[in-house]
Symmetry: D2
């Protein structure tokens, strides 16, 4: 069980997410925020598609990158900011559905680097139906302190 | 030197790019399209930023993923469609600037799988200034034929 | 629950592993082989170390790559062979310990491409002690059929 | 052009490489060591193969990981040690040949993290013949200072 060093981590994550203008453009909503895990929900919109009408791989990546970055932030002390160092995404199936759920989880939290895994699942069109995994991510997030006024 | 099997590859790539509604949402423009290499240009907009005011890593990924996918498509025969299998991105510097240029290049073109590398450079704010590399990508693209009516 | 299409998958995996001369050189042993999951055990040896005396990252990668490849093979029909297309490894902690356990698991099995995740854990030196995760992998494996006489 | 901060970087890299017992086991030799770039050569041996008689992907990864790590070390001040944080490898072709050449190059050198790209080429069996690219790597290397007595 991962424990947070900042009792106010949830409010901090929610305030930072609200400043991600790109998440607003996508229509993504921050859902669960617990120590070491963050969930983001994204409704389908045609404006987010690639040439075959599926969600663009970059959109899938965007929401799971934010989920991983904020999962890392939940475990950091006040004043630290997060930057994505690198990530790798495997696209498991075409991203179609009425809604998408991205979850980021901390696998290892170091002082400087945090490693996360993430996944994105699609909720099928129409009512009911099983969630379909559409992507998995492995990501490295860096804690930045006292640099250029960055904060989260 | 890579050679195209479809003499009409440029028109095919441009038509497919025009169907990527997400590139329109980002404001990305397709520039150079040659056999094995594609370039996409993206002007900065506040709507594309993360919490520190830099371009969101997902936006950086989106344009270089499209550049890699279309670089792969330039070498495929008519009727084949491309899907991203996986990619990995290293973010080299905060993505700030007035404009960003993403280039995707084919490293190995197989019948089923094509491997590409990509990079994104930032043009600094204001006039002049050197381009700054902000990201590199290594990607695997799959050719899809006669499946579910996909085409590019 | 993943199901095997070849009832003789375990014997097939064990016979193929026995032909991996490099696993013999490392001193790696194939342990659990079930549908969609394979486990490999590697005792520590000084000959496998990098300059600080930890297991070389390439050794860590080798055993978890074999574990992922054979996890993919457990689900393939007789006659298919596996080749690693690509993988990504995050090294979570210095790989020190008396023994290492690598597990590969299938996340998605397609006709051509299989996506696996893997992990490597270290058993600490001396008796007892908790296992320590030292690496995680995300990998793409390709099924090869009727090509150049490859078989597994 | 990258410049070294330690005029004795080449001797430092060669001494550290000599302590990598695993490189000795593989039969790998350190060749060119210049600021920001390192080359390692590996003769083929049956003991390094996977089940089809090609070089095991883990062997390919091992030499290019060492090449990338030492490329990063060429640019660090005396006293810093390098650890691989993560890497991603695409295998472009079966690794067959009489000898393999791995090159690691620094793409971005930061105080804490260095990003490298690497490639492995195969020299075909017999005399002459063109080199064949068999793998490319994208890697993140961390500088470690004053930790647990690590040094390079």
């Amino acid at each position: 069980m991962l424990s947070a060093r900042d009792p106010g981590f949830e409010a901090r994550v929610r305030a930072s997410f609200a400043r991600q203008q790109f998440m607003t453009l996508l229509g993504a909503r921050l859902e669960r925020v617990v120590a070491g895990e963050v969930c983001i929900r994204l409704p389908f919109q045609p404006a987010l598609t690639q040439q075959h009408g599926f969600l663009h791989a970059g959109v899938v990546t965007s929401v799971v990158d934010s989920a991983c970055g904020y999962a890392a932030l939940t475990l950091m002390e006040p004043g630290a900011a997060v930057l994505s160092v690198e990530f790798k995404v495997n696209l498991l199936a075409p991203a179609r559905g009425r809604e998408f759920v991205a979850v980021g989880r901390v696998v290892r939290a170091g002082r400087t680097l945090t490693v996360c895994t993430g996944e994105v699942r699609a909720l099928p069109e129409g009512e009911g139906g099983d969630e379909v995994p559409v992507a998995i991510m492995q990501a490295t997030i860096m804690a930045v302190r006292e640099r250029g006024g960055l904060s989260d």
